[in-house]
Amino acid sequence: MTLRALDRIGMGFFLGLPILWIVLFMLVPYGVLLTYSFWIKSYPLFEPAFQFGNYLTLLNEPQYLSVIGRTLKIAVIVSVTALVLAYPFAYFLVFRLKNVTIRKVLFFGVIAPLWVSYLLRAYLWKTILGTQGVLNSTLMGLGIISEPLDIFLYSQAAMVITLTYIFIPFMVMPIYAALEKIPRNLDEASADLGQSSWTTFWRVTVPLSLPGVVAGFTLTFCLCFGDFVAAFLVGGPDGLMVANVITSQFGAALNWPLGSALAVVMLVVVLAIISLSDRFEQRTKVQF
């Protein structure tokens, strides 16, 4: 396409600031992060160097791989749980609710908790899951258990519940948007062709909503992967996540180079997940 001179000026106007910003506050910092990851820890702080020791440490010491593995595991469980919880809800809103106002209100109802402090929402689960917490006292009050159970709090399960709770809105939003885009007549056409609503759901609705599912899953997974508050608040002795290890390298261990290397690993994992989901989304994308 030929660009007119005026368009070129306009393009400079619109592109200049964003590009400057990206370079200054993303590319350069990522570059610095990468640079630091090759530095070396040296008492009392650290020194510039170029060596792969930090990455070798991450590979050789089992603790790092096991933390990364655990973090991936929790992120997957949370994303799947959030998906299972969010999908029927979004489906109900879009396909079963006739009243548009109620639909909008309920949709807003699900994403509104985003506006309540993240930290507080996470913290509240401690109150609920604790030995003398709301859950235990309710169960005891109902006579289901006689002694308070301590299995709820300070465990990976507690982290999964808390993280799922926090990230559900991120799952509902894209799925809702994807479902809303599906033309109603497809649904009707399928019913017209004699398919049961169950078949219609699996053969028409689900495939067409996949881009939303992928988007929600990716976002939830990535945010979960980098979380460090859940472990801090409700995690048990086996609740350490990658982000907590990074934080500790920048704090207690005072090993910025190793922490940077871990952050680079996290960056790479997230980039990989994003491009994977991009590719998947391209394949599942349908134009209406």
Partner: protein
């Protein structure tokens, strides 16, 4: 009359795809010219290049003698009525209309007076303060027109202006737009894929095919003397028969079509192309009754079916050569279509030599 728009060998490529291919066209000042063609024929691209929304890959565009090939839309003395009208949803009707005036430096009451006048012109007096979403489809269309004419451009471009309206309203607006054109005396350059629209409204129609001009003429020219089967097929309905010249002379050409001999009025084709195909409009044939005097050409056949169309009766006739012909007959008062031949009846079709269209060999 002087040319207000001159397109000189305009081409537009999208990568390897050719959208418009070396088009030369001159639009006379004051005329209503329509670019007609199916979607993808390049007519809209051509219009958008005149409007300045796309830049030609090659060629020059002159408006009122000034080369505007590279000028952006805001520097051209033309205004467009968009297919979706493109009324600014966040502005009132009045604001929409004065928007273009303000860009010209006309503001305040001067702008308002002009806008009110334009609204009156399109029959929407008193709608100045309305919001655009409160308007009906026809009203939006009028506002779009008012917004374009209020700037007193040299040319108004209309991109499928009636496609968003329902059939009834469309017919009414066709006439209105035509009257508006006469009243304003501004050049209208319209794009449409609707042949009726083109025939009804235009002084001149340019039929486009695959990025090139297929034929350029008055509506009557195009209908009565289509240059190619493409045009004949696109404008109106045509029965095609492949044919071979047997003899030629005395203003008549004798052809063999199927196993029939037909005589047609000869038309000297400029390129001397051999005739390979003939076309006959369905309404230019008749089903002969015994009492009638026989025309020059007769084609025997069998009725396949009859289709009642209200205004006319369409009869599908299979010729002895196996080809099917459509025949349209106006149902005049007293004529009952039940009297006509039914499926299976043998019939004879008659056609006069001047009603046979001659075309080159099929490509």
């Amino acid at each position: 009359m002087a040319a207000i728009i001159e397109l000189d060998s305009i081409s537009k490529h999208y990568g390897p795809v050719v959208g418009v291919n070396h088009v030369d066209l001159a639009v006379e000042d004051g005329e209503f010219l329509t670019l007609l063609g199916p979607s993808g024929c390049g007519k809209s691209t051509l219009l958008r290049m005149v409007g300045g929304f796309e830049v030609p890959s090659a060629g020059t565009i002159r408006i009122a003698g000034v080369d505007v090939t590279a000028a952006p839309p805001q520097q051209r003395d033309v205004n467009m009525m968009f297919q979706d009208y493109a009324l600014f949803p966040h502005m009132t009707v009045g604001k929409n209309i004065t928007y273009g005036l303000e860009r010209k430096g006309i503001k305040g009451t001067a702008a308002r007076d002009k806008a009110e006048a334009a609204l009156e012109l399109v029959g929407l007096s008193g709608m100045f303060e309305r919001h655009t979403h409160q308007l009906s489809g026809g009203q939006r269309q009028r506002v779009a027109l008012a917004r374009a004419v209020v700037r007193e451009p040299k040319v108004i471009l209309l991109d499928e202006p009636l496609s968003a309206l329902d059939a009834k309203l469309r017919e009414q607006m066709q006439v209105e737009l035509k009257h508006m054109h006469e009243k304003l005396g501004i050049t209208f350059l319209m794009v449409t894929h609707d042949q009726t629209e083109a025939l009804v409204m235009s002084d001149r129609v340019v039929v486009m095919e695959a990025g090139e001009i297929a034929q350029d003429g008055t509506p009557e020219d195009l209908y009565e003397r289509p240059a190619t089967p493409y045009v004949a097929n696109f404008i109106g309905t045509t029965n095609f028969l492949s044919a071979r010249v047997v003899a030629r002379g005395a203003g008549l050409v004798t052809l063999e079509a199927g196993n029939q001999e037909l005589k047609a009025t000869d038309v000297a084709t400029s390129d001397g192309q051999a005739i390979g195909q003939i076309g006959i409009r369905p309404e230019k044939m008749q089903i002969l009754k015994d009492t009638e005097c026989r025309p020059v050409n007769v084609l025997p056949g069998t009725v396949v079916e009859t289709i009642y169309q209200g205004l006319a009766l369409r009869t599908v006739v299979r010729l002895s050569s196996g080809e099917e012909m459509l025949v349209d007959e106006i149902l005049r008062q007293g004529m009952l279509h039940s009297d006509h031949p039914r499926a299976g009846d043998p019939v004879v079709l008659g056609v006069e030599p001047h009603n046979i269209l001659l075309f080159g060999a099929e490509r």
